[in-house]
Amino acid sequence: MRLSERIIEKMLVICAAIALLGIAVIAVFITKEGWPIISKIGIKAFFLGKDWTPTKGVYGIFPMIIGSIYVTIGALAIGVPIGISCAIYLAEIASPKVSAIIKPGIELLAGIPSVIYGLYGMTVIVPIIRDLFGNQGFSVLAGSIVLGIMILPTIINISKDSIEAVPKEYKEGSLALGSSHWQAIIKVILPSARSGIISSIILGMARAVGETMAVIMITGNSTMIPESILSPVRTLTGNIGIEMGYASGEHQKALFATGIVLFIFIMCLNLLAKLIPKKAGA
C-alpha cells in the first residue's frame, strides 16, 4: 500500500515538473537554433541593424524592435484608459444589472480567437484608415487599435480584481470623512490598488507584444522603421510569422534568433508583473 502510494506521489511531482521541463526545453531549443546566427553576425549588427534582407544574408531586426514598441505603446494608449475605466466602473459603480451585461461581454472578448480580430481589422479598420488618411491603411494605427481591443480583457480583469481587493474600510473611512465617491476612488482606492493595476498593464503589454496572427494581417509587414503611426510596420512576431513558412537554413535561424529576443523580453515583462506586487507590499 505504502509503496504504490509513494510511486504515485512521485509521479505527481513529475507531472508538476513537466511544466517546468517544458519551459526549459523551449528555452533550450529556441536558443540552440537561434544563437548561431547572432554569434555569427554579432549582437550589435543583429539588434541595431536597420536592414532585414535575408536573401543577402543581412539580418538586422532594429526596425522590428521599433515596430513592436510603437504598436505596443499604441495598444496601451488605447487599452489602458478604456480598460481601467471599465474596471473602476465594474468594481465600484455599476449596478448588478449592468454588470451582468458587461461581464460576459468581456469574457467573450477574451475568448475571440486572434485570427478573427485580424479579419475584422483587415476588412473594417484598415479600409477606414485608408479612407480617412489617404494612405495604404496597413499601419501602426491599425495594429494599435486592434491590439488595444485585444488586451482589454486582461487589463480589465486584473485591475478589477485588485480594486475589489482593496479593503472596504479604506473606502468607508474616506467616505466617513466626507469625501465623495469619486474622491474616494481617486485618492484612496486606486492608489491602494496601484500595484495590481500596474501588473495588469504589464501583462497587457506582454500580450500585445506576443500577438502574431492579427498583427500580420493588418500592419503591412514592411521592413522599414515606421515614421509615424500611419506607416506600415513589422513587429518581431510578425517577422517570424510571415517568413517562417518560407525560411530555411540561415534565414530560419535568424527567425529563431528573433524568437530569442521575444522570449527574453516577454519573460522579463512577466517577471516584472510578478515582482511589483511584492515590492509594493500588497
Partner: protein
C-alpha cells in the same frame, strides 16, 4: 449524480479516441507506399491541388499530402528527402541542380493594379524604379497624383525571387507592404486604388477586381508568355531527390500526360509542350 455521469462521458471520449488513434496508427504503417508528401511554392500549390484531386479520382486510395512553404522550402525539403516531391516556381540554382526536375508548366508573373488606376502599361525600367523606390508617385508615370503603394511577397517566395531577378531589382524598397502569399497580394492590390503588385498569372487571370497591365507594350497573356515576348515568366517545377518511383512517379507522369496538361491549361497556366 452529475459527477458520475460526467466522469463516464469523459472516460468514453478518452477510450474512443485511444481506439481511434491506435487503429489509425496501424493503418498508417501499412499504407506508406500509397502516400506521398509534397511541399513548396504557394504559386504552384493550387495547380497541384487540382491535379491531385483529378489523380485521386482515378486512383482512389492514393494519399497525396500537399503543404505550402514556398519554393525555397520545397527545394530544400526535396534535397533533404523530407518530402517525396518539392514544388518550385523558379529555376533551380546551380547548387540545387543535383535534383531531378520536371517542368510541368510555365507561368507568367502578372503585374497587377487596382481597376481604378488609369495606367495600362509600364516599362521594365519604370517597374524597376517603382520597386526600388526611385519612383514614388503615380504621376511620375503618367497617372494620378498619389503615392504608390508597393506590394510585394515575402523573402523566400519563389515568385518574389523570380520577379526581382527578371526585372533586375536588387533590393525592394523597405516601405513596401509585404504579403505572405499570392492571394494576399491580390487582396491588398484589389482593395487599394494606388497599389501595385505582382503575382502568378494563372491566379490573377480571371480576377474581376484586378487589372493586369502590359509591360513594355507587351500584354500579359498565354501567347506572349509562351513566345517569350512577355519577359516576366518562370517555370513550375516538380523536383525530387532521386528518380521518382511508385506514386510519386505515377503522379508526375500523370501531370505530364495530355490529361494532366489539359488541367494545367484549364487553370490558366501554360502547358509545357504546345
Amino acid at each position: 449524480m452529475v459527477r458520475g455521469k460526467v466522469k463516464l462521458i469523459l472516460c468514453l471520449i478518452v477510450v474512443m479516441t485511444l481506439i481511434m488513434t491506435a487503429c489509425s496508427g496501424q493503418s498508417d504503417t501499412v499504407e506508406t507506399e500509397k502516400k506521398i508528401l509534397i511541399n513548396g511554392s504557394t504559386s504552384v500549390q493550387p495547380l497541384i491541388e487540382e491535379l491531385a484531386s483529378a489523380y485521386k479520382e482515378k486512383h482512389p486510395g492514393a494519399i497525396i499530402d500537399i503543404q505550402s512553404g514556398g519554393s525555397g522550402v520545397g527545394i530544400k525539403s526535396a534535397i533533404e528527402g523530407v518530402v517525396d516531391i518539392g514544388m518550385s516556381s523558379r529555376e533551380l540554382k546551380s547548387d540545387e541542380k543535383m535534383l531531378k526536375e520536371f517542368r510541368i508548366a510555365t507561368d507568367g508573373i502578372a503585374v497587377i493594379l487596382n481597376p481604378e488606376n488609369p495606367i495600362n502599361d509600364l516599362t521594365i525600367e519604370q517597374l524597376k524604379k517603382i520597386y526600388t523606390g526611385e519612383i514614388t508617385n503615380w504621376k511620375e508615370v503618367g497617372g494620378k497624383d498619389a503615392t504608390i503603394t508597393v506590394v510585394t511577397r515575402e523573402e523566400g517566395s519563389g515568385t518574389r525571387g523570380a520577379f526581382t531577378e527578371l526585372i533586375g531589382v536588387e533590393e525592394i524598397l523597405n516601405s513596401s507592404i509585404t504579403q505572405g502569399s499570392t492571394g494576399g497580394v491580390m487582396t491588398a492590390v484589389g482593395s487599394d486604388e494606388n497599389a501595385i503588385g505582382y503575382a502568378s498569372y494563372g491566379s490573377v487571370k480571371n480576377s474581376a477586381n484586378l487589372k493586369i497591365i502590359s509591360i513594355d507594350g507587351i500584354p500579359c497573356d498565354e501567347e506572349n508568355i509562351y513566345s517569350g515576348a512577355y519577359k516576366i515568366s518562370r517555370p513550375f517545377l516538380m523536383v525530387t531527390k532521386e528518380e521518382p518511383t511508385g506514386i510519386a512517379k505515377d503522379f508526375i507522369d500523370f501531370i505530364l500526360s495530355d490529361e494532366g496538361q489539359q488541367i494545367v491549361e484549364d487553370n490558366n497556366y501554360l502547358k509545357t509542350n504546345r
